[in-house]
């Protein structure tokens, strides 16, 4: 069974396609790395798949359910860490987690128990009573991940989960994600600019460029005989960029005040 299946998924902004006829196939239990240069349409795709944006054309089946017709039921099965996060800054970390659990249908006691467990696992227990606005960026990312996990989703969407956080936090989150996928109970759909992260974690890869899906397959198929970076650059039709020196920073011109 496919966790995500899209058919001609399209989104136009001011008549211009940000995502153009996307046909994604994400197998259940996969760790799917969704790659693309800046502005390729990764976040727009994710917003459509999580119900934050309506497609201009095409449709999506999420875990076998039609997203446009059965949106509420789909959302029950899905967790999401969107770009820009989805946190209430004026709630404490503990309140935020418990609220998320309850919004996804958990009873209060279960939500509280799971929130406590998540706070421990994410090493946020000492800051559970602090307002989210006082959290560092890395702490917010971890908390957002906790909110996405608290109801035990079957499919997890992660938009740039490692952006702006330190190596220690990256390592912790990566270990947690690997553990989730290795148990075979969850599908993860992840966008990232960091190819090394995707190469280390993903079982499947899709590459989007200018709104179109240019390659899709298992990591081994995409990598073929080279590295993921080489395949990625070849897929988006770009050469490895050679640094172009900036005229005023070449060391020969003094800055005058």
């Amino acid at each position: 069974m496919l966790a995500i299946e899209t058919c001609g998924l399209t989104r136009l902004f001011d008549g211009k396609p940000a995502v153009d006829g996307l046909d994604l196939r994400v197998p259940e239990g996969a760790f799917y790395g969704f790659l693309g240069p800046n502005g390729a349409g990764k976040s727009t795709t994710m917003r459509m798949l999580t119900g934050l944006l309506a497609p201009s054309a095409g449709g999506a089946l999420i875990l076998g359910r039609d997203l446009s017709r059965d949106g509420i039921a789909v959302k029950r099965l899905v967790g999401s860490v969107p770009d820009g996060l989805a946190l209430f800054e004026r709630l404490t970390g503990a309140e935020q987690l418990r609220l998320s659990g309850q919004l996804y249908g958990l009873d209060r006691a279960t939500a509280r128990l799971r929130a406590e467990e998540l706070l421990e696992a994410l090493e946020l227990a000492d800051d559970a009573g602090k307002l989210v606005q006082d959290y560092s960026h890395g702490m917010k990312k971890k908390l957002a991940l906790g909110c996405a996990l608290i109801h035990g989703p079957r499919l997890l969407f992660l938009d740039e989960p490692f952006e702006g956080i330190d190596a220690l936090a990256v390592s912790g989150i990566r270990a947690m994600l690997q553990d989730l996928v290795s148990r075979g109970q969850m599908t993860i759909f992840l966008t990232s600019h960091v190819l090394e992260v995707v190469e280390r974690l993903a079982t499947h890869v899709g590459i989007i460029h200018r709104g179109r899906l240019v390659r899709q397959g298992t990591l081994a198929e995409i990598r073929a005989s080279g590295t993921l970076e080489e395949s990625f650059l070849a897929s988006v039709g770009e050469e490895r960029a050679s640094p172009q020196p900036l005229s005023w920073l070449d060391g020969s011109k003094a800055v005058t005040g």
Binding site: G51, L52, S80, A86, E89, R90, T256
Partner: protein, 539 residues
């Protein structure tokens, strides 16, 4: 590129340009045209209204300049300055947009922050539609004086008015800084309630003093409000033709205004450098036990209540409403003629339910604004959109009820227990207004959202379009509620009032229930626009 270092002056020009650009972009953004039209309409309303009042002030000033000295000069001159100062301060604290004074966004740039702050202060006088209204009134005073007695004495009078305007703006800025600091305290709510109680006790005490004693106390207390006190003292001397005698007051006004501006600036700078700006007090670590809600409306409602409790506007309103109720019970209600119908004599009491929604209207007209990035969580969760609106409306109705309850205490202390029909009518009106105002407010919140803030004084002004829509909703709501008043007066039966409002309330609840799914569908359709507006999603 030459590599020359930009000078601060060009940086300030960039600040001015940035503000114009931001305003221009706002007008060109989706919904910006409607926003622009609303702003023009507000100006169009402010200018003729300002001119009408300016004509009255001009007439008073003309008369004062003709008479020159005596009580007939002292009273109108003091009334003009004290009246202007009161309304200017109150409106600025409650309504005006203060983003110009927000130094946080300029901290990273090599700009002299003092000048940026002064620029903000100047724009709060010259580029604020409300300030335009006060300036028109001051201008009317000058024109009236010039018509009565042309001469060089008008120059110090103009200076007096200009210094008054600057000192008032500086004092407002200082009050905003102090208020913002108080609201960041952990005990802000308790302090506000304590201050409210102290205010009632003072009012009660003052009501028992002889009039002459009250006058003497007020005479001494006026110096705490130095802009109108010094400006009116200087103006009285000028109207009497004693320019030399006015100079010390003018010098004092200049010095006090400058000192106030300096203190406000230092507080603003300290606040922004400490990183405390915009933060609220942390809640107590241990959450108190709450009823076990099983439905998902419960957690949503819990979140809404927490947000309202942590927002400064409800806290300030909990202080402001009882004071207003005390003033209504003390001064307005007894002033109504004895022979008037009982229903009409109780009208000040019936103003309280309307006020309980009015003082927090910025919150329910923009009910998703405070959620910011959290709004995404609401749309990611498996929730029907109408549930979101219902939870927000329920929390707001509870807040309005709390405000009414808080204002009932001073009313009962001062005016005594109202008759049973009036008590029931207040409850019926409170209940009837909720579905009418909040139901219509949902449309504004969905169609014209904007990012909200928890900071009391930073850019908290409502969107012009929302303010205009709020006026319309209030006019419609109060117009609807006027029908039972007319009926009760005609029938000479006060009980018809409670019955009428209860009937309207029941009808409004039925309409609300029928239309809530439609509003939810609208919210679902408009979610992209709403998220773009409140979270800053780049679509």
């Amino acid at each position: 590129m030459s590599g020359s270092r930009p000078r601060p002056a060009s940086g300030l020009a960039a600040v001015v340009e940035l503000r114009f650009l931001l305003a221009w972009r706002r007008l060109r953004a989706p919904g910006g045209t409607a926003e622009g039209v609303a702003r023009v309409v507000m100006y169009a309303m402010a200018v003729p209204l300002g001119l009408a009042f300016a004509a009255l002030v001009a007439a008073g000033s003309y008369r004062a300049a003709r008479i020159g000295v005596g009580i007939q000069v002292a009273i109108p001159v003091s009334a003009i300055f004290f009246g202007l100062w009161q309304t200017w301060t109150a409106v600025s604290l409650v309504l005006s947009e203060r983003e110009g004074l927000d130094l946080r966004r300029f901290l990273g740039y090599p700009l002299p922050l003092g000048r940026v702050w002064l620029f903000g202060l100047a724009s709060s006088i010259a580029a604020d539609p409300f300030a335009l209204f006060w300036l028109l009134l001051l201008g009317g005073g000058l024109v009236g004086a010039a018509a009565a007695r042309p001469g060089l004495w008008l120059l110090p009078l103009a200076l007096d008015m200009a210094l008054f305007a600057v000192a008032t703006a500086a004092l407002v800025a200082l009050l905003q800084e102090v208020l913002a600091r108080l609201l960041r305290l952990r005990l802000a709510r308790e302090l506000a309630i304590l201050a409210g109680v102290a205010g009632w006790l003072l009012l009660l005490g003052a009501s028992r003093l002889p009039l002459r004693q009250v006058g003497a106390i007020l005479g001494k207390a006026q110096w705490a409000f130095f802009p109108p006190a010094l400006a009116s003292l200087a103006a009285r001397h000028l109207y009497a033709g004693r320019v030399g005698a006015a100079l010390p007051s003018l010098a004092l006004l200049l010095a006090a205004g400058a000192a106030t501006a300096w203190v406000a600036w230092r507080l603003a700078l300290r606040g922004v450098l400490s990183g405390e700006e915009g933060r609220a007090a942390s809640p107590r670590a241990a959450a108190s036990a709450r009823p076990p809600w099983t439905d998902r409306l419960g957690p949503l409602l819990g979140k809404e209540v927490r947000y309202l409790v942590r927002h400064p506007v409800p806290r300030v309103s909990l202080l402001f409403m009882p004071l207003l109720a005390a003033a209504l019970a003390w001064k307005v209600a007894p002033a109504l003629p004895e022979e008037a119908a009982p229903v009409l004599r109780a009208l000040p009491l019936f103003g309280l339910p309307a006020l309980s929604y009015l003082v927090v209207q910025d919150l329910w007209l923009n009910s998703f604004g405070l959620d910011r990035g959290g709004a995404r969580a609401l749309f990611l969760a498996p929730l029907p959109a109408d549930r979101l609106l219902l939870a927000k409306n329920a929390a707001m109705a509870a807040l309005a009820a709390a405000l009414l309850l808080a204002s009932a205490v001073p009313w009962l202390l001062i005016a005594g227990r109202p008759p049973a029909w009036a008590f029931l009518a207040v409850l019926a009106l409170q209940g009837a207004l909720a579905p009418v105002l909040l139901g219509l407010g949902n449309l504004v919140a969905v169609l014209n959202p904007r990012p909200g803030t928890f900071s009391y004084q930073r850019g908290k002004g409502a969107a012009a379009l929302s303010s205009l829509a709020g006026m319309g909703i209030f006019s419609a709501g109060t117009g609807l509620m006027a029908a039972p008043v007319i009926l009760a007066v005609r029938l000479d039966d006060p009980w018809a009032l409670a019955g009428g409002w209860a009937a309207i309330g029941l009808g409004a609840v039925a309409v609300y229930r029928r239309t809530l799914p439609l509003a939810g569908a609208l919210l679902h359709r408009r979610r992209e626009h709403l998220l773009a507006a409140v979270c800053g999603d780049d679509l």
